[in-house]
Symmetry: C2
Subunit: 119 residues, 2 copies
């Protein structure tokens, strides 16, 4: 069937969560948000484009940092209220300069850092 | 440092999104939501426990289906408003009986099914 971004289920701010996964390592890189316009732009340009909730504007990932995400595949979940973007990541995905955003782990009551920012 | 679930950043419904990833395949299985109580229960019991937004109650994943998730690792993202649960999944993760919830892909304007429900 043809894909219509309007058939996705957005929250009351018109957004849905998008999980970005590295095509090679399989690492979950980050979670960010898209509105319908960001979904369309991501599909048209193959440059992953989110909605920045802090800046209230479209956010072409890597537009300033150079740490872009090329879209390899976009998957829709069973409830149509979440997307999985398989991406080719250039540079670190996290704004802290780490390769992904999930860099602390909760172990027996302690939170420990798993990896440091890249040089 | 010691981990305090209250230091996570929940939305205005007291929830944050949690990405579940299979420890072996690396597949992203699903996205669901936790409140602080679900985070505590998940860490205490090592049985992944979400907050069901449709039923407005704690949801021990697999409690009725048997398709449980054993917590292997719980990771916190840079903004502390999203979690990554690395899990040992028993049976299919999706309520449609598919191995994960992201079973359609958007390809050149068409949405195609990637895999069918398990038998």
């Amino acid at each position: 069937m043809s894909f219509d971004p309007e058939t996705l289920r957005y929250n009351d701010q018109g957004l849905l969560p998008v999980v970005a996964q590295d095509e090679h390592s399989g690492d979950v890189l980050m979670l960010a948000w898209m509105n319908a316009e960001a979904v369309v732009k991501t599909l048209e340009t193959r440059r992953v484009t989110y909605w920045s909730r802090s800046r209230s504007e479209l956010w072409v990932k890597g537009a300033t940092s150079g740490h872009t995400q090329e879209l390899i595949d976009l998957r829709v979940d069973c409830d149509r209220d979440c997307l999985l973007a398989i991406v080719r990541q250039t540079g670190p995905a996290c704004h802290t300069n780490r390769r992904n955003c999930f860099y602390t782990s909760v172990k027996t009551g302690e939170e420990v850092e798993l990896f440091a920012p890249e040089k």
